[in-house]
Every structure is written in C-alpha cells, then in structure tokens.
C-alpha cells in the first residue's frame, strides 16, 4: 500500500538560487506532520510542490503513488493563508465552502451542495456563519470556513499553510482540535506549515525541520532537538521552549 507522501532526493533551484535541496522522506497515511522552519526555508515552496503548483528540477514526489499534478484534486484539501485571501470578494461563506465541492465558483448553491456544505460547516462548528459575507468574518471564523471548504470532499490529504496566522489563541486552539477531530473521523493525513515549534511538538506525529535542506524528519522529540533547532534557525529561541520540547 503506497504511503500518503513519498519524496526522494527532491531539489529545486531557480538559476543559482537553491530553494530546496535533497529532501527525502516518507509520510504514512493518517499522520499529522508539521513542516517547521524559518522564513525563506522553502516550506511554502514544498507545499506548492505537493499541490502540483510547482515543477521540480530533480527528484521524485508521489502523492498516494501518483505524481502531484496527476492526483485527483478531490483527494486533497488545501487551506491557504487567510492573509493572502481576497476578503473584499463578494461571497457568502456557504459559497466559499461549495467551491470546494464543485472546484468552480458557484453561480448559485444547489440543494445537495448546500446540504454538504452545511455538514462541513457543522464539523467545524461554523454553521451560523453560512450566510455571512467573507468581509464580515473574523480571522478565526474565516479560517474555520476555509477548513470546512478543504474537508467538504472528505479528502485523504489536508494541506494547511500557516493556519494560525491572523487568529487569536483561542481560535488557534479550536482549529487544531477541529483538525485532530477530522483526522480521527476520516483517517486523513494532515500536513501543516507552522512557525510555532510548540504547536508542532504538541500536535504532530512527525516534524520536518527545514531550512532549504532537510535538517531533520521524525517524531517531534527527535526532530526538534536543540541541535537541530540551532542548525535550522541559527538559535534555539527561548530556553523554556526548548525545555518543553525536550520534556
């Protein structure tokens, strides 16, 4: 049975600029994986490669045994950073969720689509947001709606790009609880980009520590060791964080 994600000797460069170098890992199904690294480490680039948005120079990437651009998009739920989302776009939350079903923007939301969208919103406790416009939603509410959109097709892989950006601590905690609940219910694989080592340590089965090269990949206690953090970030941050990780 093929793993969820298999990456072999992946490298990507633009001219002389190395973006990713020799990434090699296997992610089994039903795992929760965090990708951690400093700014410019290649985290978002790696995510875009998994989504089939960027072609690689060398190496091999397989998602459920297929090349990224050959995977049925219905298998993958994607939650982009909400800070890049156009919140001035005239849309209701239910329309945004429905776009996850149809993979197109709905002219109108049909009965069965509305039903499925409301079910997805109920999973993330956001049914009351269905008829609100995107501009009326707070950061946390928009993140929930985007999460509902990503899971409305029951994908086998959910990819999230810094989902905690722009939401408060309570919203963030809710988000991870919802993600874990969805994973438990569906058996999906979760891949999440985050800056927060504590979050990665607390919620992940595995962590990929990245700074263009693969610094480490493994369970949080191993991947986020002091030495690895120093290699990736150039420092280990606040002492209490490293103590949390090592405990």
């Amino acid at each position: 049975m093929s793993p969820a994600i298999e990456i072999k000797n992946l490298s990507l460069s633009y001219g002389d600029i190395i973006v990713l170098e020799n990434i090699e890992l296997t992610i089994s199904k039903n795992s929760f994986v965090s990708i951690v690294g400093p700014n410019g480490a290649g985290k978002t680039t790696l995510m875009k490669i998994l989504l089939g948005l960027i072609k690689i120079n060398s190496g091999n990437v397989k998602i459920f045994g297929k090349l990224p651009n050959e995977v049925d998009p219905a298998f993958i739920g994607y939650v982009p950073q909400i800070k890049t989302m156009d919140r001035s776009f005239p849309a209701l939350a239910i329309e945004l969720v429905t776009s996850g079903i149809t993979r197109r923007w709905p002219w109108f939301v049909k009965g069965h689509e509305k039903q499925k969208s409301l079910e997805a919103l109920s999973l993330v406790k956001a049914t009351n947001l269905a008829n609100r416009t995107l501009s009326e939603l707070s950061g946390g509410e928009l993140q929930r709606v985007c999460l509902a959109r990503s899971i409305v097709r029951n994908p086998k892989l959910v990819v999230l790009d810094e989902p905690a950006t722009g939401i408060d601590a309570i919203g963030e905690a809710d988000l991870y609880n919802l993600l874990e609940a969805y994973q438990e219910k569906s058996g999906a694989t979760i891949v999440m980009i985050t800056h927060d080592w504590h979050v990665a340590n607390h919620h992940s089965d595995f962590v990929l520590l990245l700074n263009r090269k693969q610094v480490s990949f493994g369970p949080p206690a191993e991947a986020l060791s002091e030495e690895n953090l120093r290699i990736a970030f150039g420092h280990i941050g606040h002492l209490h964080k490293s103590k949390l990780i090592n405990n």
Partner: protein
C-alpha cells in the same frame, strides 16, 4: 417621446447599446474584481492605435482595430506573466506605445479626418448593421462561453486555489483579455475610445455596492449596463449631446446615488 424608435439610426444605436451594455458590464465584473480597471484604458488606447491604422490604410477602422487590440491584449498578458512588473506598469507601457502609434498614423494620413474624432468620442450616427452583427456574434460567443464564468470567478477570488483545482488560469487570462479587447472595439462607436474604460468599470462597481455574491453582482451589473446605455442614448438624442458621455454620466450618477443611499442605511 417614442418617435425616435422610428428612426433607423436610433434603432441601430439602441440595439448596439443593448449589446454593448451587456458585454461591457459582463466582462467588467472581472476587470473590477481583479483590479484591472486600467486594462480598459490601456486597451481603449490600443483600439485608438488600431483605428488610426485603419484610417491610414483606408480600411474599415474597426476591422483593423480588432486584431490590433487583441495583439496588444495578448502582449500585456504575456509581459505580465513573464516579468515581475505590476499590471499597471505593463498596461502603461502598451497604452503609451499604442497611443503614440495612433498619433503617428493620424499624422501620416496627411489630411483632416473627422473619423478619428468620432471614434474618440463615439458616434451613434455611424453605427452600421455590420457593427450590430459583429456585436451580436460576440454576445453569442459570450453566452456559449458562459460556463467559463465559474472558472473566471474562482480564479478572480483566489488564483492559487483555482490552480490547485487544476484550472488553467494562465490560459484563462489570455482568453479573458482577448474577449475584453474585442468588447472594447465593438463598443467604440457607441461610447467612444475616451470613455469606454468607464463603461467597463462603473456598472460593476455600482453592482458591487449592492450585492453580497459575485453571481448577483454579475447579473445586476448587466442590468445596470444595458439600462443606462438605453436611457443614456435616449437622453443624448433629446439633448443633442454626445451619447458616450451621457451614458457615462448617467452611470456615474447612479453609482453615487447608490453609494449615498448605502451610506445612510448603515
């Protein structure tokens, strides 16, 4: 009041106004939502270059303007795609080149021509059956391509999400640019080169103020575009003023009225 309907040139103008109102307002929603308001100006000035070339070559100007403007539209999209220049910079370059070429072509004509000024400001008297046929064909193409609305709307909202769902966003950029270019050319006789960009922007902007969803925004933009074109033509006939300017002033008035009403309701 209704006697103008018996006048052949007004009949043609009203039909053309309806068709142009539909096309400009439909494509205008994508122009507005993608922040491409300047594209309308850029392509309108490209159309000027094409019209001037047609006058210089003693050909029907709009037949030359169509391929000329389409080439500019493709050029703008290509340069935007291949460089890290912003939309406004890219459009500004092509805008300037087209305008400069248009000026040179008119100069090379070596004789006074009123045609150029008619195209600049619009002339409903010069709308022909051929113009109407051409506009009708474009409307039919637009209706045939109506399923593309869903793709274009999706990529207008979030380009990356659309790409992740395998929508060929770059191909759609070219297609949309070409259709907007042709729309601008067919609209010239009714509204004029100087003001056609406003026709692409004002009805969708007004519609945006009163609608919460993109589909309703599209629908009401079309209604506003068609009605203001018809009423504007009617007013321009009775007041004996340029039709293009009248239509745009009517649209702008409606926009400000809607904006004020919306503000007072908050």
């Amino acid at each position: 009041m209704f006697e103008i309907l018996s006048l052949p040139f007004m009949q043609r103008a009203l039909v053309a106004g309806t068709l142009v109102g539909f096309l400009s307002s439909y494509y205008g929603v994508f122009v507005v939502q993608r922040g491409l308001g300047f594209l309308g100006s850029g392509l309108a000035h490209a159309a000027f270059g094409g019209v001037a070339l047609g006058i210089l070559l003693n050909q029907e100007p709009l037949w030359i303007a169509v391929p000329f403007t389409v080439i500019v539209a493709i050029g703008i999209t290509y340069v935007k795609d291949r460089t890290n220049l912003g939309s406004d910079t890219t459009i500004g370059i092509f805008f300037s080149v087209s305008m400069a070429l248009g000026i040179i072509f008119i100069f090379l004509k070596r004789q006074y021509t009123s045609d150029a000024f008619n195209y600049l400001f619009g002339s409903i008297l010069s709308v022909t059956i051929t113009d109407i046929i051409f506009s009708t064909i474009l409307v039919l193409i637009t209706i045939l391509l109506s399923p593309f609305w869903k793709r274009w709307a999706y990529s207008s909202f979030d380009r990356e999400l659309a790409q992740a769902d395998r929508i060929p966003v770059q191909l759609d950029d070219y297609l949309l640019s070409i259709l907007i270019a042709v729309t601008i050319v067919v609209s010239i006789k009714v509204v004029g080169i100087v003001l056609i960009a406003a026709f692409l922007v004002i009805p969708p902007a007004t519609s945006r103020l009163i609608n919460k969803s993109f589909s309703k925004m599209t629908f009401s933009s079309i209604i506003i575009g068609v009605l203001t074109a018809l009423i504007g033509l009617w007013i321009s006939y009775y007041m004996d003023v340029p039709s293009g300017a009248t239509i745009i002033l009517l649209q702008a008035s409606l926009f400000f009225i809607v904006m004020i009403i919306r503000s007072t309701k908050r």
